[in-house]
Amino acid sequence: MRWLRQVFAVTWFGLQTMPQRLGSSAAAVFGIAGVVAVLVGVLSIAQGFRAALETAGSDDMAIVLRSGSTSEMVSALSRDTVLVVADTEGVARDARGAMSSAELFVIIDLLKRSTGTSANVPLRGVQEQAFEVRGNIEIVEGRTFEWGRNEVIIGVGAALEFAGLDLGSSLEVASDRWEIVGVFSANGGISESEIWTDARILQSAYRRGDSFQAVYTRLTSPEVFTTFKDELDTDPRVDLKVSRSSDYYSEQSSMVTNLINVVGFLIAGLMALGAVFGAVNTMYSAVSARTREIATLRALGFRNGPVIISVMFESLLLALAGSAVGGAAAWIIFDGQRAATMNWQSFSQVTFAFRVTPELLVMGAIGATLIGLIGGIFPAIRAARLPIATGLREG
């Protein structure tokens, strides 16, 4: 009991004298805050990208392409083929019939608002059921396009990223003018990077006749996917690649995700290393500033244990304060920041927003705690082991 009381006494005493050490304490807090902010920020890029993909894909939505295609862009499906897919067992049905949409995917050249340079923007031609199949498309401004007319709707991400995509303007594609009549959201998913129109309009503009590139279907349940796939795989009329949309999107993004992860963790790793050195250094300074104070306490009879704990506690406190400041900074600066990058498989732009998630903030706090512990333990032990007489002279 006396031991515990000593811990409180030493710690309380330490906290009271902290204003004297404001300089080095502040340095410790801001040092750790800086590291946490950057770490969380960089990792929020990967989180945002992943979120965009995950929202887009789901386990009960299937994407059907021509066999061997790495993306919709290189696939080609005939009208007969898409009808076969719509008729397959497992496809959900609603009042309008099979929940299946045969689609075209091309890219058009538009200028980025931020740099004024060219970018490849996805242009998708869809069928009536496309909205139901995805289930999360909402018109947020204007209205949806009328079937059969030269009208398009644009995703919120695309609207922010590319010049000329404004409600009411028109898009010039080859020799056609298409009017932008609405803006849609897709719960943050990658569809928001796209421009949508009637598949028939796209077919005629690009002289595709009656061919499509992909079929998006909603299944009655995630489990039914295997049956659905088996039936199509064994059908001699067609030669297809059938995937869950969730799998398809992760495959599509594997290059970018790999890049972001490697780069992100490399940077984060180096920063963490630097942070440990910096933190240990600052803690050492903070403790040496208290050497005489600690020696006095020990001379008065306080045991080593409580001294060590008190030093570690202060170190932890500073680290947590740092992670709170850093996390808040990261959230303010990074969360919601929009960015766009290239999907190499389809050569098109994918827009997404950085996401500072609670998981990241917790990770930052844990990291800071570890840094605080490592930073505090060595100086703490040194302070406790220093001969009291030496300590009284120092400082």
Binding site: T117, M255, N258, M342, F347
Partner: protein
């Protein structure tokens, strides 16, 4: 330089602290090196874009094909020295993750268009004598461990063969190197004539884009406009631009990485500055008595200030330079993403910037403590001791 031992002896006083400060600055500059290399890699060759080359693609988008008959027509335009086609093949080698640039080209013309691709004459001869021959860049040869004589199977996703099959097989007849560090040596180039004959009948006669050499780089934009004029109102309208503009556009599509990098670096350096500055301030605070003594002995205020600054410079400067050195060494070991970057190196210009930053850091960290040391009153300092 007779004061060197004073600076050195102070750094040796608290070895642990010196080591920790040194290490944190070192790591910061290691990071700087990596970020420079990454930014350069993502720039995708802006620095080596040919001043006298243009890219001509379909106006609607890069994926629309152009007729192969355009080659002769482009070459007739005033200012054009030569034009040669290339096409995006987009095949898969083993798995989609192994992504690299593949294109059927006309061997001699393409290499003439890119003189920075260095291919030994005998390998070029072999290429001209082998229909299925492919010349690969050093970067992907290293990445996949390919040697001359290897047979490489590629699964097509866009260009199916006449018989409907997707398997194309190529024989490696040459490996080209880049004239500069930033030259793209990640290209997989095979023969256009073989490609055109083997591909499906309906797809023949089309190419992806043209690379054009102009006689006068100052007239690039003018010539590009002339090319677009020529094909305006035709079924396949063109969009011609300088290679620099094209590469820049592509880099911008990868994302505004530059801004993010700058942001990260600024935060890192700010943090390091705090740590180093705090350390320096600490050392000065601990030595107030000593500073008083040397001032009593007769060192001027300015000399004392200089000693503190020198200490900070030596510590931060040396740590920074070592960090840059280690970065250069590690980066030369290769691309950490295992091939996503066509080129990966630490540009010498950035190294120089890094060195300058190290020095600036040294001065900045020591500035405030140095001023304090300078202003210290002797009598007061002695009394405190």
């Amino acid at each position: 330089m007779k004061y060197v031992h004073l600076v050195w002896s102070n750094l040796k006083r608290k070895k642990v602290r010196t080591f920790l400060t040194f290490s944190s600055v070192l790591v910061a500059f290691l990071l700087f090196g990596y970020l420079s290399a990454i930014e350069t890699a993502l720039e995708q060759g802006v620095s080596v874009a040919g001043a006298d080359r243009l890219m001509v693609r379909h106006k609607v988008s890069l994926i629309q094909p152009l007729p192969e008959t355009y080659e002769a027509q482009i070459e007739q335009i005033d200012g054009v020295v030569d034009a040669t086609p290339a096409t995006w093949f987009g095949g898969v080698y083993q798995e989609p993750r192994n992504f690299f640039f593949q294109a059927p080209v006309k061997p001699r013309e393409y290499l003439a268009m890119y003189p920075e691709f260095l291919l030994p004459e005998d390998q070029l001869e072999a290429w001209l004598n082998t229909r299925t021959g492919v010349v690969v860049g050093r970067a992907i040869a290293d990445r996949f461990d390919w040697k001359i004589g290897d047979r490489v199977p590629i699964q097509a996703t866009i260009w199916f063969k006449r018989d409907g099959s997707r398997l194309w097989e190529f024989d490696i007849v040459g490996i080209y190197d880049g004239a500069e560090q930033a030259t793209d040596t990640a290209q997989f180039l095979f023969r256009y004539d073989y490609f055109d004959e083997a591909r499906q009948e309906g797809a023949r006669g089309n190419v992806g884009w043209y690379i054009v050499r102009v006689d006068d780089p100052d007239r690039s934009v003018e010539i590009a406009d002339a090319i677009d004029e020529r094909f305006a109102n035709s079924p396949a309208e063109t969009s011609a631009e300088t290679e620099l503009a094209f590469v820049q556009g592509f880099a911008n599509q990868l994302g505004n990485i530059g801004k993010i990098m700058t942001g990260v670096l600024s935060a890192v350096f700010f943090t390091i500055l705090l740590v180093a500055g705090n350390t320096m301030a600490q050392t000065v605070r601990e030595r107030i008595g000593e500073i008083g003594v040397i001032k009593a002995i007769g060192f001027t205020d300015r000399q004392v200030m200089g000693l503190v600054l020198a200490e900070s410079l030596v510590l931060a400067g040396s740590a920074g330079l070592v960090g840059l050195g280690v970065a250069a060494w590690l980066i030369s070991a290769g691309d950490p993403t295992g091939g996503a970057f066509p080129m990966f190196f630490f540009p010498p210009a950035d190294m120089a910037v890094g060195a300058l930053l190290a020095i600036t850091l040294g001065v900045a960290a020591g500035a405030f403590p140095a001023m304090q040391a300078r202003r210290l009153q002797v009598a007061e300092a002695l009394r405190r001791k």
